[in-house]
Protein backbone atom coordinates (compact mmCIF):
# COMPACT_ATOMS: atom_id res chain seq x y z
CA UNK A 1 0.00 0.00 0.00
CA UNK A 2 1.53 3.32 -1.09
CA UNK A 3 0.17 6.61 0.19
CA UNK A 4 0.98 10.13 -1.00
CA UNK A 5 0.15 12.58 1.78
CA UNK A 6 -0.02 16.37 1.62
CA UNK A 7 -0.81 19.11 4.12
CA UNK A 8 -0.97 22.82 3.29
CA UNK A 9 -3.36 23.80 6.06
CA UNK A 10 -0.91 25.96 7.97
CA UNK A 11 2.45 27.66 7.63
CA UNK A 12 4.24 24.45 6.64
CA UNK A 13 4.01 22.96 3.22
CA UNK A 14 4.55 19.24 3.75
CA UNK A 15 4.31 16.09 1.63
CA UNK A 16 5.35 12.46 2.04
CA UNK A 17 5.24 9.00 0.51
CA UNK A 18 4.57 6.10 2.84
CA UNK A 19 4.82 2.49 1.72
CA UNK A 20 3.46 -0.24 4.01
CA UNK A 21 4.03 1.81 7.17
CA UNK A 22 7.52 2.80 6.09
CA UNK A 23 7.97 6.50 5.52
CA UNK A 24 9.89 6.40 2.23
CA UNK A 25 10.34 10.12 1.83
CA UNK A 26 9.03 13.28 3.37
CA UNK A 27 9.56 16.92 2.61
CA UNK A 28 8.56 19.84 4.80
CA UNK A 29 9.15 23.50 4.11
CA UNK A 30 8.29 26.27 6.51
CA UNK A 31 9.27 29.33 4.58
CA UNK A 32 7.82 32.34 2.85
CA UNK A 33 6.95 30.97 -0.58
CA UNK A 34 3.28 30.32 -1.19
CA UNK A 35 2.13 26.72 -1.02
CA UNK A 36 0.89 26.98 -4.60
CA UNK A 37 4.46 27.47 -5.82
CA UNK A 38 6.04 24.94 -3.48
CA UNK A 39 3.73 21.94 -3.20
CA UNK A 40 3.82 20.25 -6.59
CA UNK A 41 7.59 20.61 -7.21
CA UNK A 42 7.98 19.14 -3.72
CA UNK A 43 5.70 16.20 -4.50
CA UNK A 44 7.55 15.68 -7.78
CA UNK A 45 10.89 15.47 -5.99
CA UNK A 46 9.55 12.77 -3.62
CA UNK A 47 8.90 10.55 -6.63
CA UNK A 48 12.13 11.56 -8.32
CA UNK A 49 14.14 10.66 -5.20
CA UNK A 50 12.47 7.34 -4.42
CA UNK A 51 11.96 6.16 -7.98
CA UNK A 52 8.39 5.25 -7.07
CA UNK A 53 6.08 5.63 -10.08
CA UNK A 54 3.09 7.94 -9.80
CA UNK A 55 0.78 5.15 -10.96
CA UNK A 56 1.89 2.96 -8.05
CA UNK A 57 0.18 5.26 -5.56
CA UNK A 58 -2.92 3.67 -3.99
CA UNK A 59 -4.25 6.51 -1.86
CA UNK A 60 -3.92 10.26 -1.61
CA UNK A 61 -4.15 11.61 1.93
CA UNK A 62 -4.91 15.29 2.38
CA UNK A 63 -5.35 17.56 5.38
CA UNK A 64 -9.05 18.38 5.25
CA UNK A 65 -9.16 21.28 7.69
CA UNK A 66 -9.37 23.41 9.62
CA UNK A 67 -6.66 25.83 8.58
CA UNK A 68 -6.02 28.70 6.22
CA UNK A 69 -8.96 28.66 3.78
CA UNK A 70 -6.74 29.28 0.77
CA UNK A 71 -4.08 26.88 2.04
CA UNK A 72 -6.64 24.12 2.46
CA UNK A 73 -7.88 24.64 -1.09
CA UNK A 74 -4.38 24.54 -2.58
CA UNK A 75 -3.88 21.13 -0.97
CA UNK A 76 -7.40 19.96 -1.81
CA UNK A 77 -7.23 21.04 -5.47
CA UNK A 78 -3.86 19.34 -5.82
CA UNK A 79 -5.09 16.14 -4.16
CA UNK A 80 -8.27 16.15 -6.24
CA UNK A 81 -6.35 16.68 -9.47
CA UNK A 82 -3.87 13.90 -8.73
CA UNK A 83 -6.64 11.55 -7.59
CA UNK A 84 -8.67 12.32 -10.72
CA UNK A 85 -5.72 11.64 -13.02
CA UNK A 86 -4.62 8.46 -11.21
CA UNK A 87 -8.20 7.35 -10.49
CA UNK A 88 -7.55 6.86 -6.76
CA UNK A 89 -9.56 7.72 -3.65
CA UNK A 90 -8.72 10.47 -1.18
CA UNK A 91 -8.47 10.07 2.58
CA UNK A 92 -9.48 13.36 4.21
CA UNK A 93 -7.52 13.74 7.44
CA UNK A 94 -8.74 16.26 10.03
CA UNK A 95 -5.85 18.69 10.49
CA UNK A 96 -5.89 18.60 14.28
CA UNK A 97 -6.09 14.82 14.52
CA UNK A 98 -3.04 14.64 12.28
CA UNK A 99 -1.23 17.25 14.38
CA UNK A 100 -2.03 15.34 17.58
CA UNK A 101 -0.40 12.24 16.09
CA UNK A 102 2.97 14.02 16.28
CA UNK A 103 2.82 13.23 20.01
CA UNK A 104 0.95 9.90 19.90
CA UNK A 105 3.35 8.28 22.38
CA UNK A 106 2.54 10.72 25.13
CA UNK A 107 0.24 9.60 27.93
CA UNK A 108 -1.07 13.09 28.41
CA UNK A 109 -4.07 14.43 26.54
CA UNK A 110 -2.78 15.95 23.31
CA UNK A 111 -4.07 19.46 22.56
CA UNK A 112 -3.09 20.78 19.13
CA UNK A 113 -3.85 24.46 18.59
CA UNK A 114 -3.89 26.68 15.53
CA UNK A 115 -4.57 30.40 15.63
CA UNK A 116 -8.09 30.87 14.21
CA UNK A 117 -8.08 34.69 14.69
CA UNK A 118 -11.21 36.50 15.86
CA UNK A 119 -10.37 35.48 19.44
CA UNK A 120 -10.54 31.77 18.73
CA UNK A 121 -8.30 28.75 18.30
CA UNK A 122 -8.80 25.70 16.12
CA UNK A 123 -8.31 22.91 18.59
CA UNK A 124 -9.34 19.47 19.87
CA UNK A 125 -8.35 17.09 22.67
CA UNK A 126 -7.00 13.62 21.84
CA UNK A 127 -6.14 10.70 24.16
CA UNK A 128 -3.87 7.95 22.83
CA UNK A 129 -3.98 4.53 24.45
CA UNK A 130 -0.73 3.72 26.17
CA UNK A 131 1.72 1.75 24.11
CA UNK A 132 -0.24 1.87 20.84
CA UNK A 133 -0.44 4.24 17.95
CA UNK A 134 -4.03 3.42 17.06
CA UNK A 135 -6.50 6.23 16.48
CA UNK A 136 -6.94 8.18 19.72
CA UNK A 137 -10.05 8.61 21.80
CA UNK A 138 -11.42 12.02 20.91
CA UNK A 139 -12.09 13.91 24.13
CA UNK A 140 -12.99 17.12 22.28
CA UNK A 141 -13.83 16.99 18.57
CA UNK A 142 -11.94 19.57 16.48
CA UNK A 143 -13.61 22.97 16.60
CA UNK A 144 -13.09 26.74 16.60
CA UNK A 145 -13.55 28.08 20.16
CA UNK A 146 -12.15 30.79 22.42
CA UNK A 147 -9.05 29.70 24.32
CA UNK A 148 -10.89 30.14 27.63
CA UNK A 149 -13.50 27.59 26.61
CA UNK A 150 -10.80 25.07 25.75
CA UNK A 151 -9.10 25.62 29.08
CA UNK A 152 -12.41 25.05 30.87
CA UNK A 153 -12.71 21.65 29.19
CA UNK A 154 -9.14 20.79 30.16
CA UNK A 155 -9.59 21.85 33.77
CA UNK A 156 -12.85 19.93 34.05
CA UNK A 157 -11.26 16.73 32.72
CA UNK A 158 -8.36 17.11 35.10
CA UNK A 159 -6.04 15.15 32.79
CA UNK A 160 -2.48 16.28 32.15
CA UNK A 161 -2.16 17.97 28.75
CA UNK A 162 0.51 18.38 26.09
CA UNK A 163 0.11 21.43 23.87
CA UNK A 164 1.40 21.71 20.35
CA UNK A 165 0.67 23.73 17.23
CA UNK A 166 1.54 27.14 15.81
CA UNK A 167 -0.83 28.96 18.18
CA UNK A 168 1.02 27.80 21.30
CA UNK A 169 3.61 30.61 21.33
CA UNK A 170 0.77 33.14 20.94
CA UNK A 171 -1.17 31.86 23.95
CA UNK A 172 1.53 30.30 26.11
CA UNK A 173 1.32 32.91 28.87
CA UNK A 174 -2.43 32.58 29.17
CA UNK A 175 -2.17 28.78 29.22
CA UNK A 176 0.44 28.91 32.00
CA UNK A 177 -1.85 31.22 33.92
CA UNK A 178 -5.20 29.44 33.51
CA UNK A 179 -4.58 25.71 33.06
CA UNK A 180 -4.73 23.98 36.43
CA UNK A 181 -3.66 20.46 35.40
CA UNK A 182 -0.18 19.17 34.57
CA UNK A 183 0.88 20.62 31.26
CA UNK A 184 3.79 20.59 28.92
CA UNK A 185 4.64 21.93 25.50
CA UNK A 186 5.92 19.90 22.58
CA UNK A 187 9.28 20.88 21.09
CA UNK A 188 9.26 22.86 17.86
CA UNK A 189 9.96 19.95 15.52
CA UNK A 190 6.77 18.20 16.70
CA UNK A 191 4.72 21.34 16.82
CA UNK A 192 3.78 21.77 13.18
CA UNK A 193 2.02 19.81 10.45
CA UNK A 194 4.04 16.83 9.22
CA UNK A 195 2.99 14.77 6.21
CA UNK A 196 4.56 11.65 7.77
CA UNK A 197 2.10 11.76 10.67
CA UNK A 198 -0.71 12.58 8.26
CA UNK A 199 0.11 9.49 6.18
CA UNK A 200 0.03 7.22 9.24
CA UNK A 201 -3.27 8.64 10.44
CA UNK A 202 -4.72 8.34 6.95
CA UNK A 203 -3.96 4.62 6.87
CA UNK A 204 -5.82 4.17 10.17
CA UNK A 205 -8.73 6.16 8.76
CA UNK A 206 -8.64 4.16 5.54
CA UNK A 207 -8.88 0.93 7.49
CA UNK A 208 -11.83 2.52 9.24
CA UNK A 209 -13.54 3.00 5.84
CA UNK A 210 -13.04 6.75 5.64
CA UNK A 211 -11.95 7.06 2.00
CA UNK A 212 -13.94 9.41 -0.30
CA UNK A 213 -13.96 9.88 -4.07
CA UNK A 214 -11.79 12.57 -5.63
CA UNK A 215 -14.95 14.36 -6.80
CA UNK A 216 -16.56 14.45 -3.36
CA UNK A 217 -13.55 15.58 -1.38
CA UNK A 218 -13.81 19.14 -0.09
CA UNK A 219 -12.20 20.96 2.82
CA UNK A 220 -13.94 21.16 6.17
CA UNK A 221 -13.34 24.80 7.13
CA UNK A 222 -15.24 24.61 10.46
CA UNK A 223 -16.39 28.12 9.61
CA UNK A 224 -18.66 29.89 7.20
CA UNK A 225 -17.26 32.67 5.05
CA UNK A 226 -17.61 36.15 6.48
CA UNK A 227 -20.26 37.08 3.90
CA UNK A 228 -22.40 34.03 4.75
CA UNK A 229 -22.04 34.70 8.46
CA UNK A 230 -23.13 38.32 8.08
CA UNK A 231 -26.04 37.36 5.85
CA UNK A 232 -27.29 34.83 8.40
CA UNK A 233 -26.93 37.40 11.19
CA UNK A 234 -28.97 39.88 9.14
CA UNK A 235 -31.62 37.28 8.42
CA UNK A 236 -31.83 36.31 12.09
CA UNK A 237 -32.35 39.93 13.07
CA UNK A 238 -35.22 40.34 10.63
Amino acid sequence: MKILSIDTSGLCCTAAIMEDNILRASYTVDFKKTHSETLLPMVDSLFETTGIMKKEIDLIACASGPGSFTGLRIGAATAKGIALALDKPIIPVPTLLSLSYNACLSQMDIVPMMDARRGQVYTGVYRYEEGTSALPKIVLEQCAIPLEELIEVINENGHGVLFLGDAVPVFKEKIEELVKTDRSFAPGFLSRQRAGALAEVSLLLYNDGKAVSADDFRPDYLRLSQAERERLERENQE
Partner: protein
Amino acid sequence: MKILAIESSCDETAAAVVVDGRDVRSNIISTQIPIHTLYGGVVPEIASRKHIERVNQVIRKALSDAGETVDSIDAVAVTYGPGLVGALLVGLNAAKAIAWAADKPLIGVNHIEGHIAANFIENKDLNPPFLCLVVSGGHTHLVRVLDYGKYEILGRTVDDAAGEAFDKIARVIGLGYPGGPKIEEDARAGDPTAYHFPLAHVRGSEYDFSFSGLKSAVLNFLNSEAMKCDAAKRRDTLLSDSAHSKSGVGDIPLIDGKLFGTIQRSDLSASFQKAIVDALTTRAFLAAENEGEKRIALAGGVAANSALQSSMREEAKKRGIEFFCPSKILCTDNAAMIGCAGYYELMKGRRSPLSLNAFSDLPIGASNGE
Protein backbone atom coordinates in the same frame (compact mmCIF):
# COMPACT_ATOMS: atom_id res chain seq x y z
CA MET B 1 -3.17 18.58 -30.38
CA LYS B 2 -5.89 17.86 -27.79
CA ILE B 3 -5.94 20.29 -24.90
CA LEU B 4 -7.81 20.01 -21.62
CA ALA B 5 -8.48 23.60 -20.51
CA ILE B 6 -9.55 24.80 -17.07
CA GLU B 7 -10.81 28.23 -15.97
CA SER B 8 -11.83 29.42 -12.47
CA SER B 9 -10.88 33.11 -12.33
CA CYS B 10 -14.19 34.45 -11.07
CA ASP B 11 -17.62 32.87 -10.58
CA GLU B 12 -17.72 30.17 -13.26
CA THR B 13 -16.03 26.80 -12.87
CA ALA B 14 -15.25 25.77 -16.44
CA ALA B 15 -13.42 23.06 -18.37
CA ALA B 16 -13.19 22.26 -22.07
CA VAL B 17 -11.46 20.02 -24.55
CA VAL B 18 -10.16 21.88 -27.60
CA VAL B 19 -8.40 20.28 -30.57
CA ASP B 20 -5.80 22.24 -32.52
CA GLY B 21 -6.87 25.52 -31.01
CA ARG B 22 -10.17 26.05 -32.78
CA ASP B 23 -12.11 22.80 -32.65
CA VAL B 24 -14.13 22.79 -29.41
CA ARG B 25 -15.07 19.23 -28.46
CA SER B 26 -16.66 20.12 -25.12
CA ASN B 27 -17.26 23.31 -23.18
CA ILE B 28 -18.61 22.84 -19.65
CA ILE B 29 -19.50 25.84 -17.50
CA SER B 30 -20.84 25.58 -13.96
CA THR B 31 -22.03 29.04 -12.99
CA GLN B 32 -22.35 30.36 -9.45
CA ILE B 33 -24.46 33.40 -10.36
CA PRO B 34 -27.53 32.30 -8.32
CA ILE B 35 -25.39 32.03 -5.18
CA HIS B 36 -23.67 35.40 -5.57
CA THR B 37 -26.98 37.09 -6.37
CA LEU B 38 -27.82 36.68 -2.67
CA TYR B 39 -24.93 39.01 -1.91
CA GLY B 40 -25.37 41.49 -4.74
CA GLY B 41 -22.02 40.57 -6.28
CA VAL B 42 -19.27 37.99 -6.36
CA VAL B 43 -18.00 37.05 -2.90
CA PRO B 44 -14.43 35.78 -3.40
CA GLU B 45 -14.38 33.30 -0.51
CA ILE B 46 -17.70 31.77 -1.54
CA ALA B 47 -16.57 31.60 -5.17
CA SER B 48 -13.42 29.74 -4.11
CA ARG B 49 -15.43 27.30 -2.00
CA LYS B 50 -17.81 26.55 -4.84
CA HIS B 51 -14.92 26.02 -7.27
CA ILE B 52 -13.36 23.31 -5.11
CA GLU B 53 -16.74 21.57 -4.79
CA ARG B 54 -17.34 21.53 -8.55
CA VAL B 55 -13.91 21.40 -10.18
CA ASN B 56 -13.51 17.63 -10.61
CA GLN B 57 -17.05 17.06 -11.86
CA VAL B 58 -16.67 19.85 -14.42
CA ILE B 59 -13.33 18.51 -15.66
CA ARG B 60 -14.65 14.96 -15.82
CA LYS B 61 -17.70 16.08 -17.79
CA ALA B 62 -15.56 18.04 -20.25
CA LEU B 63 -13.40 14.95 -20.83
CA SER B 64 -16.29 12.51 -21.17
CA ASP B 65 -18.36 14.78 -23.44
CA ALA B 66 -15.34 15.00 -25.73
CA GLY B 67 -14.80 11.25 -25.57
CA GLU B 68 -11.36 11.78 -24.07
CA THR B 69 -9.54 10.73 -20.90
CA VAL B 70 -6.76 12.32 -18.91
CA ASP B 71 -4.36 9.97 -20.69
CA SER B 72 -5.61 10.64 -24.22
CA ILE B 73 -5.18 14.43 -24.09
CA ASP B 74 -1.88 16.06 -25.09
CA ALA B 75 -1.64 19.05 -22.77
CA VAL B 76 -3.34 21.01 -19.99
CA ALA B 77 -4.05 24.75 -20.26
CA VAL B 78 -5.23 26.82 -17.29
CA THR B 79 -6.02 30.42 -16.42
CA TYR B 80 -3.42 31.77 -13.98
CA GLY B 81 -4.54 35.42 -13.92
CA PRO B 82 -5.84 38.04 -13.79
CA GLY B 83 -8.77 37.33 -11.49
CA LEU B 84 -9.65 36.49 -7.90
CA VAL B 85 -6.55 34.78 -6.50
CA GLY B 86 -8.43 32.37 -4.24
CA ALA B 87 -10.66 31.35 -7.13
CA LEU B 88 -7.77 31.08 -9.62
CA LEU B 89 -5.79 28.86 -7.23
CA VAL B 90 -8.42 26.11 -7.36
CA GLY B 91 -8.40 25.62 -11.13
CA LEU B 92 -4.65 26.27 -11.31
CA ASN B 93 -3.69 23.66 -8.73
CA ALA B 94 -6.11 21.08 -10.10
CA ALA B 95 -4.67 21.67 -13.58
CA LYS B 96 -1.08 21.47 -12.38
CA ALA B 97 -1.83 18.25 -10.48
CA ILE B 98 -3.49 16.63 -13.50
CA ALA B 99 -0.69 17.69 -15.85
CA TRP B 100 1.89 16.36 -13.41
CA ALA B 101 0.12 13.08 -12.60
CA ALA B 102 -0.60 12.33 -16.27
CA ASP B 103 2.82 13.53 -17.49
CA LYS B 104 1.37 16.18 -19.81
CA PRO B 105 2.77 19.61 -20.61
CA LEU B 106 1.20 22.52 -18.74
CA ILE B 107 0.55 26.00 -20.09
CA GLY B 108 -0.66 28.96 -18.02
CA VAL B 109 -2.96 31.27 -19.92
CA ASN B 110 -3.82 34.93 -19.33
CA HIS B 111 -7.59 35.25 -18.92
CA ILE B 112 -7.79 38.38 -21.12
CA GLU B 113 -5.76 36.72 -23.86
CA GLY B 114 -8.27 33.89 -23.58
CA HIS B 115 -11.14 36.29 -24.19
CA ILE B 116 -9.38 37.64 -27.28
CA ALA B 117 -8.72 34.09 -28.54
CA ALA B 118 -12.45 33.29 -28.24
CA ASN B 119 -12.78 35.06 -31.59
CA PHE B 120 -10.65 32.41 -33.34
CA ILE B 121 -12.99 29.58 -32.41
CA GLU B 122 -15.92 30.52 -34.62
CA ASN B 123 -13.99 32.48 -37.22
CA LYS B 124 -11.64 29.93 -38.70
CA ASP B 125 -10.17 32.48 -41.12
CA LEU B 126 -9.41 35.12 -38.52
CA ASN B 127 -5.69 35.50 -37.95
CA PRO B 128 -3.64 38.33 -36.48
CA PRO B 129 -3.15 41.18 -36.97
CA PHE B 130 -6.43 42.77 -35.92
CA LEU B 131 -7.78 45.21 -33.39
CA CYS B 132 -9.65 43.87 -30.35
CA LEU B 133 -11.87 45.62 -27.83
CA VAL B 134 -11.91 43.56 -24.62
CA VAL B 135 -14.72 44.49 -22.27
CA SER B 136 -15.65 42.58 -19.12
CA GLY B 137 -16.52 42.93 -15.45
CA GLY B 138 -12.91 43.56 -14.54
CA HIS B 139 -11.29 44.77 -17.75
CA THR B 140 -11.61 47.29 -20.55
CA HIS B 141 -8.77 47.17 -23.05
CA LEU B 142 -8.24 48.25 -26.61
CA VAL B 143 -5.60 45.86 -27.91
CA ARG B 144 -3.82 45.45 -31.20
CA VAL B 145 -3.23 41.73 -31.71
CA LEU B 146 0.07 41.70 -33.61
CA ASP B 147 0.50 37.95 -33.73
CA TYR B 148 -0.59 34.93 -31.66
CA GLY B 149 0.43 35.83 -28.12
CA LYS B 150 1.81 39.24 -29.16
CA TYR B 151 -0.12 42.32 -28.18
CA GLU B 152 0.14 46.07 -28.14
CA ILE B 153 -2.18 47.82 -25.71
CA LEU B 154 -3.52 51.00 -27.30
CA GLY B 155 -5.96 51.99 -24.56
CA ARG B 156 -7.42 50.91 -21.26
CA THR B 157 -9.75 52.18 -18.60
CA VAL B 158 -8.19 54.62 -16.18
CA ASP B 159 -10.72 53.79 -13.45
CA ASP B 160 -13.69 51.37 -13.51
CA ALA B 161 -14.10 48.59 -16.06
CA ALA B 162 -17.20 48.90 -18.23
CA GLY B 163 -18.75 45.84 -16.63
CA GLU B 164 -18.07 47.27 -13.19
CA ALA B 165 -20.01 50.42 -14.14
CA PHE B 166 -22.93 48.24 -15.25
CA ASP B 167 -22.84 46.38 -11.93
CA LYS B 168 -22.71 49.54 -9.83
CA ILE B 169 -25.55 51.32 -11.56
CA ALA B 170 -27.66 48.14 -11.69
CA ARG B 171 -27.28 47.84 -7.94
CA VAL B 172 -28.30 51.44 -7.28
CA ILE B 173 -31.42 51.28 -9.44
CA GLY B 174 -32.49 47.99 -7.92
CA LEU B 175 -31.76 45.67 -10.82
CA GLY B 176 -29.19 43.70 -8.85
CA TYR B 177 -26.49 41.32 -9.98
CA PRO B 178 -25.22 40.60 -12.58
CA GLY B 179 -25.59 44.19 -13.73
CA GLY B 180 -24.77 43.86 -17.43
CA PRO B 181 -27.48 41.38 -18.43
CA LYS B 182 -29.99 42.99 -16.04
CA ILE B 183 -29.52 46.48 -17.51
CA GLU B 184 -29.55 45.14 -21.05
CA GLU B 185 -32.88 43.44 -20.39
CA ASP B 186 -34.39 46.46 -18.67
CA ALA B 187 -33.13 48.78 -21.43
CA ARG B 188 -35.00 46.89 -24.15
CA ALA B 189 -38.23 48.71 -23.30
CA GLY B 190 -36.51 52.05 -22.72
CA ASP B 191 -35.66 55.13 -24.75
CA PRO B 192 -31.88 55.51 -25.02
CA THR B 193 -32.25 59.21 -25.82
CA ALA B 194 -34.38 60.01 -22.78
CA TYR B 195 -31.42 61.19 -20.74
CA HIS B 196 -28.05 62.40 -21.83
CA PHE B 197 -24.97 61.34 -19.92
CA PRO B 198 -21.67 62.77 -21.05
CA LEU B 199 -18.88 60.77 -22.68
CA ALA B 200 -15.77 61.14 -20.59
CA HIS B 201 -12.51 61.83 -22.35
CA VAL B 202 -9.19 61.04 -20.80
CA ARG B 203 -6.93 63.99 -21.33
CA GLY B 204 -3.88 63.28 -23.44
CA SER B 205 -4.77 59.68 -24.31
CA GLU B 206 -7.43 59.41 -26.95
CA TYR B 207 -7.83 55.61 -26.72
CA ASP B 208 -8.24 55.39 -22.94
CA PHE B 209 -11.59 54.98 -21.22
CA SER B 210 -13.07 56.43 -18.04
CA PHE B 211 -16.35 55.22 -16.60
CA SER B 212 -16.31 56.63 -13.08
CA GLY B 213 -17.40 60.05 -14.41
CA LEU B 214 -20.37 58.46 -16.12
CA LYS B 215 -21.25 56.60 -12.96
CA SER B 216 -21.12 59.87 -10.99
CA ALA B 217 -23.24 61.61 -13.61
CA VAL B 218 -25.96 58.98 -13.21
CA LEU B 219 -25.75 59.13 -9.42
CA ASN B 220 -25.86 62.94 -9.41
CA PHE B 221 -28.86 62.86 -11.69
CA LEU B 222 -30.63 60.42 -9.36
CA ASN B 223 -29.68 62.56 -6.38
CA SER B 224 -31.20 65.68 -7.88
CA GLU B 225 -34.36 63.77 -8.74
CA ALA B 226 -34.47 62.42 -5.21
CA MET B 227 -34.45 65.96 -3.88
CA LYS B 228 -37.46 66.83 -5.98
CA CYS B 229 -39.65 64.06 -4.71
CA ASP B 230 -41.12 62.68 -1.52
CA ALA B 231 -38.31 60.27 -1.11
CA ALA B 232 -36.01 63.21 -0.55
CA LYS B 233 -35.71 62.56 3.13
CA ARG B 234 -34.23 59.19 2.39
CA ARG B 235 -31.71 60.42 -0.13
CA ASP B 236 -28.79 60.76 2.21
CA THR B 237 -28.89 57.17 3.22
CA LEU B 238 -29.95 55.88 -0.16
CA LEU B 239 -27.40 57.54 -2.34
CA SER B 240 -24.47 57.94 -0.03
CA ASP B 241 -21.40 55.98 -1.09
CA SER B 242 -21.89 53.40 1.60
CA ALA B 243 -25.40 52.62 0.44
CA HIS B 244 -24.59 51.81 -3.14
CA SER B 245 -21.36 50.02 -2.39
CA LYS B 246 -23.27 47.48 -0.30
CA SER B 247 -25.43 44.73 -1.59
CA GLY B 248 -28.76 46.52 -1.18
CA VAL B 249 -31.04 45.52 -4.00
CA GLY B 250 -33.86 48.00 -4.48
CA ASP B 251 -32.09 50.95 -2.86
CA ILE B 252 -34.40 53.43 -4.55
CA PRO B 253 -38.19 53.21 -4.33
CA LEU B 254 -39.63 51.93 -7.59
CA ILE B 255 -43.27 52.80 -8.27
CA ASP B 256 -44.90 51.55 -11.50
CA GLY B 257 -41.50 51.02 -13.09
CA LYS B 258 -40.51 54.56 -12.12
CA LEU B 259 -37.67 55.50 -9.80
CA PHE B 260 -38.94 58.05 -7.27
CA GLY B 261 -42.18 57.76 -9.20
CA THR B 262 -40.77 60.08 -11.89
CA ILE B 263 -37.94 58.46 -13.84
CA GLN B 264 -38.86 55.55 -16.12
CA ARG B 265 -36.22 53.07 -15.04
CA SER B 266 -36.00 51.41 -18.45
CA ASP B 267 -35.26 54.84 -19.99
CA LEU B 268 -32.46 55.36 -17.50
CA SER B 269 -31.07 51.86 -18.20
CA ALA B 270 -31.21 52.46 -21.94
CA SER B 271 -29.60 55.92 -21.70
CA PHE B 272 -26.84 54.70 -19.39
CA GLN B 273 -26.17 51.69 -21.61
CA LYS B 274 -26.01 53.96 -24.66
CA ALA B 275 -23.42 56.17 -22.96
CA ILE B 276 -21.18 53.16 -22.31
CA VAL B 277 -21.72 51.70 -25.77
CA ASP B 278 -20.95 55.06 -27.41
CA ALA B 279 -17.76 55.48 -25.39
CA LEU B 280 -16.55 52.02 -26.37
CA THR B 281 -17.55 52.21 -30.03
CA THR B 282 -16.12 55.70 -30.57
CA ARG B 283 -12.69 54.84 -29.15
CA ALA B 284 -12.48 51.51 -30.93
CA PHE B 285 -13.18 53.00 -34.35
CA LEU B 286 -11.03 56.05 -33.76
CA ALA B 287 -8.16 53.63 -33.15
CA ALA B 288 -9.08 51.52 -36.19
CA GLU B 289 -9.14 54.65 -38.34
CA ASN B 290 -5.87 56.09 -37.05
CA GLU B 291 -4.01 52.79 -37.04
CA GLY B 292 -5.37 51.67 -40.40
CA GLU B 293 -6.90 48.46 -39.01
CA LYS B 294 -9.29 46.71 -41.34
CA ARG B 295 -10.53 44.14 -38.86
CA ILE B 296 -11.96 44.65 -35.42
CA ALA B 297 -13.05 42.06 -32.87
CA LEU B 298 -15.04 42.27 -29.65
CA ALA B 299 -14.27 40.10 -26.61
CA GLY B 300 -15.11 39.63 -22.92
CA GLY B 301 -18.30 39.26 -20.91
CA VAL B 302 -19.70 42.66 -21.90
CA ALA B 303 -19.25 41.66 -25.56
CA ALA B 304 -22.39 39.59 -24.99
CA ASN B 305 -24.33 42.87 -24.72
CA SER B 306 -26.46 43.09 -27.85
CA ALA B 307 -26.58 46.91 -27.87
CA LEU B 308 -22.78 47.00 -27.94
CA GLN B 309 -22.64 44.32 -30.63
CA SER B 310 -25.07 46.09 -32.92
CA SER B 311 -23.43 49.49 -32.41
CA MET B 312 -20.03 48.00 -33.29
CA ARG B 313 -21.43 46.06 -36.23
CA GLU B 314 -23.18 49.11 -37.66
CA GLU B 315 -20.15 51.34 -37.31
CA ALA B 316 -17.94 48.69 -38.90
CA LYS B 317 -20.31 48.36 -41.83
CA LYS B 318 -20.33 52.12 -42.32
CA ARG B 319 -16.56 52.22 -42.48
CA GLY B 320 -16.00 49.04 -44.45
CA ILE B 321 -14.25 47.33 -41.55
CA GLU B 322 -14.68 43.60 -40.94
CA PHE B 323 -16.28 42.90 -37.54
CA PHE B 324 -15.96 39.79 -35.36
CA CYS B 325 -17.70 38.81 -32.15
CA PRO B 326 -17.89 35.45 -30.38
CA SER B 327 -21.29 33.93 -29.68
CA LYS B 328 -22.63 34.56 -26.20
CA ILE B 329 -21.38 31.33 -24.61
CA LEU B 330 -17.82 32.17 -25.72
CA CYS B 331 -18.06 35.83 -24.58
CA THR B 332 -18.70 35.02 -20.94
CA ASP B 333 -16.04 33.18 -18.95
CA ASN B 334 -15.36 29.73 -20.39
CA ALA B 335 -12.50 27.29 -20.75
CA ALA B 336 -12.70 26.76 -24.53
CA MET B 337 -11.11 30.18 -25.04
CA ILE B 338 -8.32 29.19 -22.62
CA GLY B 339 -7.73 26.02 -24.63
CA CYS B 340 -7.54 28.09 -27.80
CA ALA B 341 -5.07 30.64 -26.41
CA GLY B 342 -3.10 27.85 -24.73
CA TYR B 343 -2.73 26.02 -28.03
CA TYR B 344 -0.96 28.93 -29.71
CA GLU B 345 1.32 29.36 -26.71
CA LEU B 346 2.22 25.65 -26.77
CA MET B 347 2.86 25.82 -30.52
CA LYS B 348 5.50 28.46 -29.80
CA GLY B 349 7.23 25.91 -27.58
CA ARG B 350 6.20 27.54 -24.35
CA ARG B 351 5.63 25.48 -21.17
CA SER B 352 4.77 26.56 -17.64
CA PRO B 353 6.58 25.12 -14.61
CA LEU B 354 4.93 23.14 -11.78
CA SER B 355 5.62 26.14 -9.57
CA LEU B 356 3.24 28.30 -11.61
CA ASN B 357 1.34 30.63 -9.28
CA ALA B 358 -1.88 32.65 -9.61
CA PHE B 359 -1.89 36.43 -10.06
CA SER B 360 -4.71 38.88 -9.45
CA ASP B 361 -3.00 41.32 -11.82
CA LEU B 362 -1.34 39.95 -14.89
CA PRO B 363 -0.33 42.10 -17.84
CA ILE B 364 -1.44 41.07 -21.32
CA GLY B 365 1.45 39.39 -23.11
CA ALA B 366 3.24 38.08 -19.97
CA SER B 367 5.29 34.92 -20.35
CA ASN B 368 3.13 32.03 -19.02
CA GLY B 369 5.11 31.95 -15.77
CA GLU B 370 8.15 30.56 -17.61
